[in-house]
């Protein structure tokens, strides 16, 4: 009798099996995937909340980490520094001489431009400096977090530079931080242009060639484009997100496609993505007209 009762009791108690938890959480994640894809604004408060907790810690670690790595680098580089210093001094003298010449030519150019009533070709964009505080850690994508957000006036689609080269674009903004996708990211595509011939092309990130030899792909170059090895590629005038005329890199290995319609090449970015820690954000958005619905 007792045995039977116990058995009945056992049947009544609900045991939670791991697979039930798995399916519950699975459907929860599927729901969040759907919600975040369809209504990105709904999860923005959650992102902001996490931001306020995580960002100060990341900043702290970043200070420690960068000072440590700087110290390591200092020891490593001490020998080379003197030699490099001498070389650089010679270079400075050389460059100041060139500068004078260029300045003279610039006067002349400005005069001529005024005559033609042309605007400056590459206007000086306003920039905000930011520090990289975290990197996407999967190893598959090149996405990183910077320590400036909507409170500093950052907006999505702002261009990000380092030195004089293009780094990427702001993809999402939170209160005190924002996420930047680098041009070497596998899903990034930039409309580029060859400086010498004004031929346009598409510069697309490629993990495969980036990992094997540090280059990304250039596609859709017109077949009759007169381009050569190590030609400069800048952002093009037809891009609707990137400002015109920011240097991306230099092309190598130009080949004709198997379709015989376009050329393909590889591009070495000017920015050193391995040792990137500070970036500049152009606070000006590219003006683009949107189709009215």
């Amino acid at each position: 009798m007792q045995k039977r009762r116990r058995r009945r009791n056992n049947k009544k108690t609900i045991t939670i099996l791991p697979k039930h938890v798995f399916f519950l959480l699975f459907f929860l994640t599927v729901a969040t995937i759907f919600v975040s894809y369809r209504f990105p604004n709904l999860i923005q408060p959650v992102r902001d909340g996490i931001d306020t907790v995580i960002i100060p810690m990341q900043k702290g670690i970043n200070v420690v980490g960068s000072s440590l790595s700087e110290r390591f680098d200092m020891f490593r580089n001490l020998k080379n520094l003197q030699k490099e210093n001498e070389e650089l001094k010679a270079k400075v003298e050389d460059l100041t001489l060139q500068m004078q010449l260029i300045n003279q030519e610039k006067y002349e150019l400005n005069g001529l431009r005024e005559l033609f009533a042309l605007d400056q070709k590459y206007p000086d964009y306003e920039k905000v400096a930011a520090r990289i505080i975290a990197r996407e850690s999967n190893g598959w994508y090149n996405v990183f977090t910077i320590d400036k957000g909507s409170e500093d006036g950052i907006q999505p689609d702002m261009n990000v530079m380092a030195g004089n080269g293009l780094v990427g674009i702001v993809v999402s903004v939170r209160k005190n931080s924002s996420t930047v996708r680098a041009i070497i990211d596998d899903s990034s595509k930039v409309s580029g242009m060859f400086v010498k011939s004004s031929d346009t092309c598409i510069v697309s990130g490629d993990l495969n060639s980036m990992m094997s030899d540090g280059r990304i792909k250039v596609t859709m170059i017109p077949l009759n484009a007169e381009i050569h090895e190590s030609d400069e590629v800048v952002t093009s005038h037809i891009s609707d997100k990137y400002q015109q005329g920011i240097l991306i890199g230099y092309v190598t290995d130009i080949q004709v496609d198997s379709s015989n319609m376009t050329k393909t090449a590889y591009l070495t970015p000017v920015v050193d993505f391995e040792h990137l820690d500070e970036v500049l954000i152009l606070t000006e958005l590219k003006e683009s007209f949107e189709l009215e619905e």
Partner: protein, 169 residues
């Protein structure tokens, strides 16, 4: 309750380690997957359900900070946690081979599923190169980091059990 807070602190610690500190110590462009080490440690020592909950929150944290669609990492971590949780039956406190092998295999599974979801479906077919340049270094580096992290998490787990009075010295 104490366990919950400790796990949460471990989770945030791993997240910071993975996204900030290790980005200064990258080897061939990869960082070790500390969150996966945590998830598998929980799976091996405590079973499937706690592991899946840990995996869910780890994945969500990564996704909320880095990607536009939230949830893919969580699903992948949960699959790994669910499978690794079966090894809980083999749990023996002085064994370091099984957790090591689990972390190695778990990282492979995670990276492979990630490749299928985000690269194969976009027509990137060259698995061998991705395997050599991304998946393999990541697996090795993660196991290397686990040499330090697993004993720490495991020791903390034993300490908590002792505090709860479930085991004696």
């Amino acid at each position: 309750m104490v366990r919950l807070i400790v796990t949460l602190i471990e989770l945030i610690f791993c997240f910071l380690l993975q996204t900030s500190l290790f980005s200064f110590l990258r080897i061939s462009g990869v960082v070790p997957d500390c969150l996966l080490i945590l998830v598998i440690t929980v799976a091996y020592t405590r079973g499937q359900i706690p592991a899946m909950v840990t995996a869910f929150f780890s994945g969500m944290l990564l996704d909320l900070c880095f990607s536009e669609t939230v949830g893919f990492c969580a699903v992948l971590y949960m699959v790994v946690a669910f499978l690794a949780g079966y090894a809980n039956k083999l749990y023996y406190e002085r064994d370091y081979f099984i957790p090591g092998a689990l972390i190695f295999a778990g990282e492979f599974l995670y990276s492979f599923l990630y490749y299928i979801l985000f690269f194969l479906l976009r027509g990137r077919l060259s698995l061998p190169t991705y395997f050599i340049y991304t998946i393999l270094p990541r697996m090795l580096y993660t196991v290397l980091a686990a040499l330090a992290l697993y004993p720490a998490f495991h020791g903390l787990h034993r300490l908590l059990l002792r505090l709860e009075g479930k085991i004696d010295d």
